[in-house]
Symmetry: none
Subunit: 534 residues, 2 copies
């Protein structure tokens, strides 16, 4: 069943998603995200509210020349005309009409109490505002959708009025009415009942717009589709105010993979993981590893116990093929690590360990033993693939990849004489090492000991291996293991290093947090140099 065209996948990341606390998008960010959404094949990209703020106005202006979309149409969001005015003369309506998008999504009140208390006009005037604005925009050649704000609460408060708003919009020429659970308090059964009633009673084409305040935004959206909605709104990564909007990728993946409805152009669902992560790069909101379908942990399995059965039939342990959404099965090398999982993990990293040969068997055995020994001392390879790969290479090649030999290091942190609160201390590190046949003694500064060591280490190595100039330390995590022993406990540090194109994670462990960080820094640079063919 191909519903593309008939069924709308409508993204509102750039408008409703951008309401998320702490999220702030530039015009360039919005253009980039729109391109990613088009790659995923969504039908509509709601770009913002032209006329309401200069940024959104500029977005639509630049979109005319800078955005060439293959799948999506751009939609402008905005309000009905003001009370007592005429749509054709309303500057807000004009901004929507002239945005160049060609699609206008008009938000209208459908909750009687909101009309009176927030909009402060009469119920009749609100209907007139809907009728007049829709009719004007349709006459001007726009495709018009209605966003019926607070619809579900309004339906409970005054069903007749809520339905009348929808009928009014449809009769004036709106193509559909998206029912909004603006406050997000609905549950799937309630959504289904209301959508069913709306479709039966009014015959209006229905869309659905959910928020996640009950943790049910995805399920509510699916319930609406099941009850007859043919237009789904949502945001990438579920961005949005409060608890966020419905996660559009999860909605679409469920529709295609679970319910057999083709709602994106065929094959494009495989862009889902890439799209979600690319958008997270633009928003600079760290993606949740647990995110359905696209999270880095979404198809990660603790190995060991089940590894042999996973080999026989992966579908026994996964609810769908991760490749369908462009994700990948990962086996976590955990403290339960058995030989089978080490072998699978090696294959995942591109090493055929050939455990059927005696050499392969011995190799896998050695690696398994070392992983177990290191994990018992506090290492983790679950999150540190790069450190695991270095260990694997060391066992395969007989020696650990090495591009420099450290002689010693020292880092001093001390209070400053004239400091501002919270900035009373500074760190200075000195590193002595040999690289490329030369000896380097380099000092680096930082606002913390690890920062200073990183600066000194990269400055020293960079003289022999210029490629480290592209490396950047992008994430740093500290965990105290064996808590309850104060500062005396074992410390585990995870460091993520990037070369701009890709990133990798290394681990360091020690009683001393600085020493653990140093080990992870050294592994991070070593892995990067090896990847760059040094």
């Amino acid at each position: 069943m191909d519903l593309h065209g008939a069924f709308h996948v409508y993204d509102t990341t750039l408008r409703d998603g951008a309401q998320q606390e702490g999220l702030s998008l530039s015009v360039a960010d919005k253009l980039t995200i729109a391109r990613h959404l088009d790659d995923l094949g969504v039908g509509y990209v709601e770009g913002g509210w032209p006329g309401a703020n200069p940024k959104d106005t500029e977005f639509f202006r630049r979109a005319r020349t800078e955005l060439s979309l293959r799948h999506a149409r751009l939609a402008a969001f905005g309000a009905t005309r003001r009370a007592g005015a005429v749509a054709a003369d309303d500057p807000g309506v004009a901004a929507l009409r002239d945005s160049g998008a060609g699609v206008v999504t008009l938000v209208a009140k459908s909750h009687a109490r909101h009309v009176e208390l927030a909009l402060r006009t009469t119920l009749e005037e609100n209907l007139a505002m809907v009728r007049d604005t829709v009719a004007h925009l349709v006459a001007e050649g726009q495709q018009v959708f209605l966003d019926a704000e607070h619809f579900f609460d309004g339906y409970r408060d005054d069903r007749d009025y809520a339905l009348e708003v929808l009928r009014t919009a449809a009769e004036a020429g709106a193509e559909l009415a998206a029912l909004c659970d603006t406050n997000g308090g609905m549950l799937p059964g309630w959504v289904a009942d209301v959508v069913h009633d709306v479709v039966e009673t009014t015959g209006v084409r229905v869309g659905i717009h959910c928020h996640n305040d009950t943790g049910c935004a995805v399920a509510n959206t699916l319930a609406a589709v099941d009850a007859g909605a043919t237009h789904v709104q949502g945001t990438v990564n579920g961005y949005g105010e409060r608890t966020g909007n419905a996660d559009l990728v999860a909605v679409v993946a469920n529709l295609e993979l679970k319910l057999g409805r083709q709602v994106l152009p065929p094959g494009l669902l495989r862009e889902a993981t890439r799209t979600a992560h690319a958008v997270a790069e633009v928003t600079n909101v760290p993606p949740s590893s647990r995110q359905p379908y696209v999270g880095t942990s979404a198809f990660a399995h603790k190995a060991g116990l089940h590894a042999s059965a996973v080999k026989v039939d992966p579908d026994l342990y996964q609810h769908t093929d991760p490749l369908g959404v462009g994700n990948d099965m990962r086996l976590l090398v955990s403290d339960m690590a058995g030989r089978a999982s080490i072998e699978l993990k090696g294959r995942e990293l591109g090493f055929d360990l050939d455990a059927d040969s005696p050499e392969g068997r011995a190799l896998v055995g050695r690696v398994t033993e070392r992983v177990k020994a290191l994990e018992s001392r506090g290492h983790t390879f679950e999150a540190a693939d790069a450190s695991f790969e270095l260990l694997l290479v060391e066992e395969i090649e007989g020696r650990r990849p090495s591009y420099f030999e450290v002689e010693s290091w020292r880092v001093i942190t001390e209070t400053l004489a004239h400091a501002r609160p919270g900035e009373e201390a500074v760190s200075e590190a000195t590193v002595k090492l040999r690289a490329g046949g030369e000896r380097f003694v380099v000092t680096g500064e930082g606002n913390g000991p690890v920062n200073a060591l990183d600066a000194a280490l990269r400055a020293a190595i960079g003289q022999a291996w210029p490629e480290v100039a592209t490396f950047e330390l992008i994430d740093y995590k500290v965990r105290i293991l064996d808590q309850g022993h104060g500062t005396d406990a074992t410390t585990r540090v995870l460091i993520e290093t990037s070369d701009g194109a890709s990133s990798w994670v290394t681990v360091g462990v020690g009683a001393n947090v600085v020493e653990a960080s140093w080990a992870a820094l050294v592994d991070g640079l070593t892995f990067g140099l090896r990847r760059h063919g040094a």
Copy 2:
């Protein structure tokens, strides 16, 4: 309708939640989390798998003397006896029987293909394993629940066999069978249909255990309850493998606030926000601000536009009263603390802030402003009562309690010449301060910078205030805020100090991890000296 007692709220944070990638709990962590869960009033706390690993065995051993639960019963999780063995002779079954929990949740295969491919035994023997193990444990006085693993997939594959497993368990004396969507691929309608069929066909009491792979774990759990399940399993903050388990707090809040079912002891749902955040401090997994009901953004509204309407009727803009889950409405720009919560917190610590008097109102206002300002810079007072109390005392008494004045400090970490692996570095700190009218310059050593600073600081102060000899730093946690900026990000340190009889937590924040630790150390000693009447 009061279903407490009849209806089970069953938490599996300590067992299934701990399967989350990167999450690792010590025995002390698990005991702390169990106490928080008990405060929330859950009916059952699944503590782990005694006998499967030393940590879980120790947890149940220590729980006997160290855990006194008011609401919850402890449950031990484990497998049916081995194929071909006898339950009464199986050491794994004995570990469950003897754990002291009194409740055993037995996991059993209910998917025919898993029995054959993963368990590698016959369908008949699997039934015998269930029958024999349940009967033995019931005869030994245990309350037994069955976790039917891969139930929903198994039901699709071979309905008759899946139902037979449930019947077998029930006939042998199991109180209920929790149907597990182990791979997490279900949608609410499917769950409802299966649960309905199971209840109708077998008459077995049904529980539900969902994972969030489709983004529908909460909705699936509610669908099961609607279809007749009377036992819900989930985890705090939705922790768990892959995309996590059903978020138990969201499930319970929906049941109580949306569906009118009282499933926790009356009033305890108000502990939800505090519990979720306290558990996140223990796991050291940053909580999601967007988490339904308990997230810091869950009831945050952009101020401005709607502010006046919010004043007239807050329910126009929120789906439920945030106080019902112990959360708070926030108008954005500001951070967490409202005046009411500051007042409550003060009272909790033994300070009557008397907000009805003009002085009291002004005091609460000043404290609220300072808490907001500090939280916006990364402080947290949720877990750091001692730091909050110092701030409160400072505002009440007009000056911060102070027993020493620090002049400067310095800490050096450097590599040792002849060191063993993992012990290559040592730290040395020098602290200069005045206390009791004298000036002290003291040097301390440690296996890390904070350890060395702690040693030097306590040695210096101890000469003026001998009571610090009884103080010990017993827990140290580091969190990198604002991740994605590498070692350049803000660091938050929580330090727990003990005097042998009691302990208290202080917080420090700074760009420099050593400086943040120093601030928390100083607060920790100051608070202890004040408590000891110095």
